[in-house]
């Protein structure tokens, strides 16, 4: 069983067949968005997850909080262009954030084995995708996806 919401999201997103690595909070130092970082390199986008922006209890039932809405940001990071290749071809996948959001929206993060969420998840709601943030000087495209996880406390 996953210990945190972000690890449950990691397991779920990595099982979607999108060839993505997912990290909690921040990618390890040295993680490349183009591998290898040469003219012949291929895009290597990754995802980071900020969990528990707030965790908001729902209305009390029988005097106790039983369910919550946990707000999470799923950050998608991509290289904008391959600056080492001739004509600097675009490396960004403009559809990637949408694919991730589509997989998440309405899901219950049901994964087998160690990826199961720590508490019962009733549903995932995608609040918004974007804004797409181009960090031109860093050659990075960043798309935050605002997600609500409706789950047991």
């Amino acid at each position: 069983m996953a210990l945190t919401t972000s690890s449950a999201l990691k397991q779920f997103i990595e099982q979607q067949g999108l060839s993505l690595s997912v990290y909690q909070d921040q990618a390890p130092d040295g993680t490349l968005l183009i591998t290898p970082n040469t003219a012949a390199g291929l895009p290597s986008p990754y995802v980071t997850v900020d969990e528990a922006l707030p965790v908001i209890p729902d209305q009390l039932e029988d005097g106790v909080a039983t369910t919550v809405k946990e707000h999470v940001t799923v950050h998608v990071w991509m290289a904008w262009k391959n600056l080492l290749a001739p004509n600097t071809p675009r490396m960004e996948d403009p559809a990637l954030a949408g694919k991730i959001a589509k997989a998440l929206h309405g899901s219950r993060l049901l994964t087998s084995g160690s990826g199961a969420p720590p508490t019962t998840v009733y549903g995932v709601l995608v609040h918004s995708i974007g804004p797409r943030i181009l960090e031109r000087d860093e050659n990075v495209v960043h798309v935050p996806i605002w997600v609500e996880v409706w789950r047991n406390l």
């Binding site: 922006l53 943030i133 935050p144």
Partner: protein, 138 residues
């Protein structure tokens, strides 16, 4: 960066009954709650930071944020909440240089709790809210 809050269904019902003023008053209270909470969360900076508190002080709603930051359009009453400082954008969403401190979304989520939900739409540095509103009216 600002987030436009579109009224919840019950506020739209007020508006449909010709009670737009009441709907807007309710939104003003929610917007002020969001501003107060966002200011309490946002990173302020230390004593050695010459711009300490700049982002906090820039958080506002309605016409204090920018002209035309509140009103009624085809979707009902709306109000803009946020900061017009470019660096607030990166504090909210993070960048390759630093993690996100999501002061605005946290404040919105807390204010939305128990209020039946608001529509939220973002405007960033590249698509100012005023332009999109003007485009919609045409």
């Amino acid at each position: 960066m600002s987030a436009a809050l579109d009224a919840a269904p019950f506020l739209k019902a007020f508006a449909n009954l010709g009670l737009e003023g009441m709907a807007i008053e309710i939104e003003h209270g929610v917007a002020q709650d969001i501003v107060d909470r966002a200011r309490s969360i946002v990173h302020v900076g230390g004593a050695d930071d010459p711009n300490a508190g700049e982002t906090r002080d820039s958080i506002a709603w309605g016409n204090d944020l920018h002209a035309g930051g509140e009103g009624i359009d085809t979707r009902g009453p709306y109000i803009d909440v946020g900061s017009m400082l470019p660096k607030a954008f990166y504090e909210e969403f993070g960048s390759v240089h630093g993690p996100a401190v999501s002061f605005l979304r946290t404040a919105i989520a807390e204010a939305m709790a128990g209020k039946g939900g608001f529509g939220v739409s973002w405007s960033g540095m590249t698509r100012p809210r005023q332009k999109s509103r003007a485009a919609r009216r045409r």
